[in-house]
Structure formats: C-alpha cells, structure tokens
Subunit: 210 residues, 2 copies
Amino acid sequence: MSQRAGVLELAVLGLLHENPMHGYELRKRLNSVLGAFRAFGYGSLYPCLKDLTARGLITEESGPPDPAKPLAGRRSKIVYRLTADGKEYLQELLGQSGPASWEDDGFGVRFAFFGLTRADVRMRILEGRRSRLEERVEAFRAALARTRERVDSYTLELQKHGLESVEREVRWLNELIASERRADAESAAELGDAREDGAQGRVGLPRREI
Amino acid sequence: MSQRAGVLELAVLGLLHENPMHGYELRKRLNSVLGAFRAFGYGSLYPCLKDLTARGLITEESGPPDPAKPLAGRRSKIVYRLTADGKEYLQELLGQSGPASWEDDGFGVRFAFFGLTRADVRMRILEGRRSRLEERVEAFRAALARTRERVDSYTLELQKHGLESVEREVRWLNELIASERRADAESAAELGDAREDGAQGRVGLPRREI
DNA sequence: GTTTTCATGTAACCCGTTACATGATTCA
DNA sequence: TGAATCATGTAACGGGTTACATGAAAAC
C-alpha cells in the first residue's frame, strides 16, 4: 500500500494542500509550477481526481455559494479539497526519499513541494539527485573518451550539450545543498540547542531578487 | 502507415545503419549515444527487434560465418542488420519533421542522426524546436510574473532554474542554426550554383577541438 | 450572436517499464 | 570455482497520451 508512485498524484495532493481548487485550475497550476518538467492533460488529471476521491483522500465539493451572485448558486464547478486522510497520506509521501524522488521523473515535483518537506528529507533528496547526476556525468565523460573518433559531429555536439546540462544542474544542487546547510546551522544557532529537527517551512535559498 | 512513432524504433534503425550489432551492444550504444535523454532496458529493446524483424526491416543473423576468430573475438549470438527495406524506411522516418521531431521526446534521437538527415529537414527541426522552447520561455516568464508573491522560494527557484535551462538550450540552438546557415552558404559558394540540396553527411558545426 | 475560454469528462491505445527467468562466457 | 559480465528473452502491468465529446460562461 502507498506504493503507487504517480508523479501526478503527488502533484495534485501537494497543490490541493495549498488551497482547494477545481480541475481546470489545478491543471494550469500544475503545468505552470512544474513548467518544463512535465505537462499533464485532462485525460490524466480527471481520472486521477476520481481515484483520489474514491480513496477518500480528497472530496468533491460543488461550487461555493458565490458571494457576488447570491441567488441560484451555479454548481457547475467542482472544487476538490484535501481530507484529513489526504493530508496524512501526503505527509507520508513527502517523508519518503527513495530513488523515485531523485530520478528525472519525480525530482521536479518533490522539489516543488520542498516547502512541505522535512529538512532532513530535503537533504537526502538533494544529495541523492546529485550523486545520480554525477554518475551520469561520469558516463558521459566515458562515452566522450571512448567514441572520440568514430562519432560524427552531431552526436558529439549532442553529448557535449548533454554533459554541460548535467554539470550545470550539479552546480545548482551544490548551491542548494550549501544553502540548506547554512540555514541549518543558523537556525541551530538561533535556537540555542533546543531546536527541533522536523521544522517545516524554513527556506534557506540564496535569495537574490525576484 | 509509418505513423507509429517510437523513439526506440528510430534509434535502433539509426544505430544499425552505422553497422550491424547484437542486442546487448545495441542497448549500450543506445544509452551512451542518447545519454541523459533516454534510457532503454532490454524489456523494450528485444520486443522492438522482434517487431522490426517481423516487418522485414532488419534481419537476424546467427553468429559470424567463420568460427576461427581468436583475436578480437566478438562471437555473438544474434546479429541484427538493416535490410534494404529497413534503409528505405529509416530514410522515410528521417525525412519527416513534425512536432514529434522537436518535442522533448524525439528531438534528442533525431538530432543524434542528423548526419543521415537532409539539410533542409535538419533546419526545420532545429527551428521547430527553437520556437517550441521559446513558447516555453514565454510561459515561464508569465508564470514568474504572475506568481511573484504567493509562491515559496523553492518553487521559485525551480522555475528560475527551469527558465535558465531552456534559455540555455535556445542559445545552443541559435548557434547550431547559424552554423548550418554558414555551412549552407559555404557549400553553395564552393559548388558555384550547381549544388544539389539533398546532400547528406555535411556537418557544419563550430568545430572546436574534440 | 458568435467565438473563446472555461470546465468536465471518457475510451482506447501506446510505448515503455518492472520484475522475472535463463544460460553462456570471461575473469579473479 | 564462483562472481561478474555478456547475452537473450517474456509476462504483466502502468502511467499517461490522444482523440473525442459536451456544455456553460465570458468576451468580442
């Protein structure tokens, strides 16, 4: 149980945790938050919502009584809301930090909800991804060294671009990890020693201007 | 007909065009050439080979004719080789330049075989991908402008990293396109005006040292 | 009053994955 | 001799896409 991964499922629960929404809006938020990483269509979303409803993790509510239009509340929209069980389940998902959370599929979504994730789990995921990417860099380097002559310029160019992309992400992760460590140290200092580890919501990013 | 996309199929045909191989080696080449972009397992590869064989696009050959091969021994089980039909079909696939060739899935493989692709098709694919990415940049920018306040630092950082990644690929594409144009112009000049357009194998990349 | 966007679905399909299973060869 | 790698498969499943279908509200 609880082993059905489903990037979409996590994303839906995570977004609904912020606030209740209806399907259409959910999908937009989904594709804007996750941006380049994944794009879901209605064909995936609505069945997923049905499923989550059936499992009691979310509820379907007919549209809210419109304050501007008191009479004859239009019920066309269906607003989905996390149940208590849903919150619990989400928290359980966010507590996991296996390979699924740092592979290409999955990492983006997990990262997007780092704000709801325990600091130690965040760290494990970041480090997991980094070492995953480092493996990949290694493989790339090996491939470049191996094929050096036989391969045409296009393949070569593709591999170089790939390598640089991965290296870039590694640097990004390094910054993030350093940032997390810094924030950890700071909050430890501030709180004397009585700090509790499970604190949520703390964000220790470089914080350049938006 | 010929509408079954299949990244894997194209990759297999493309690799077998270079030289015949057996499955295991094919898979390694696959994952080294395509590197970060995709990773196939045997569970996909062998059924695909079966299918291609059934369609007469490749042939299965049992081990090499001469058993006396002590040095450089590569005694393998089943060697797959492109048939004439297979070559034709590959060429047909490489002639197409629809969305499938510039979406995330597909572009990498198409690019890897640009050496076998007509110059005009290459250009259409590069430009197609660029405009696809530019749409995405636009979407990102809009998202960043829209959510500016409501979103936590992690989501923001994710979006920024995503945006930068895409912008980086756009720059890469710009270089490639410029390079192709340059090469086009050069070969036109060299050949007077009698140049034929369908020339293959010309590669006009920046050509820094390997 | 017509087009666009919002909004909700469904059914079929597809490409590939996961997990499993097996044996042959090479290397320590 | 035993472990690692090479080498070839298969069955079941799965998460998501595509294409289709529908209708209400908003914008023009």
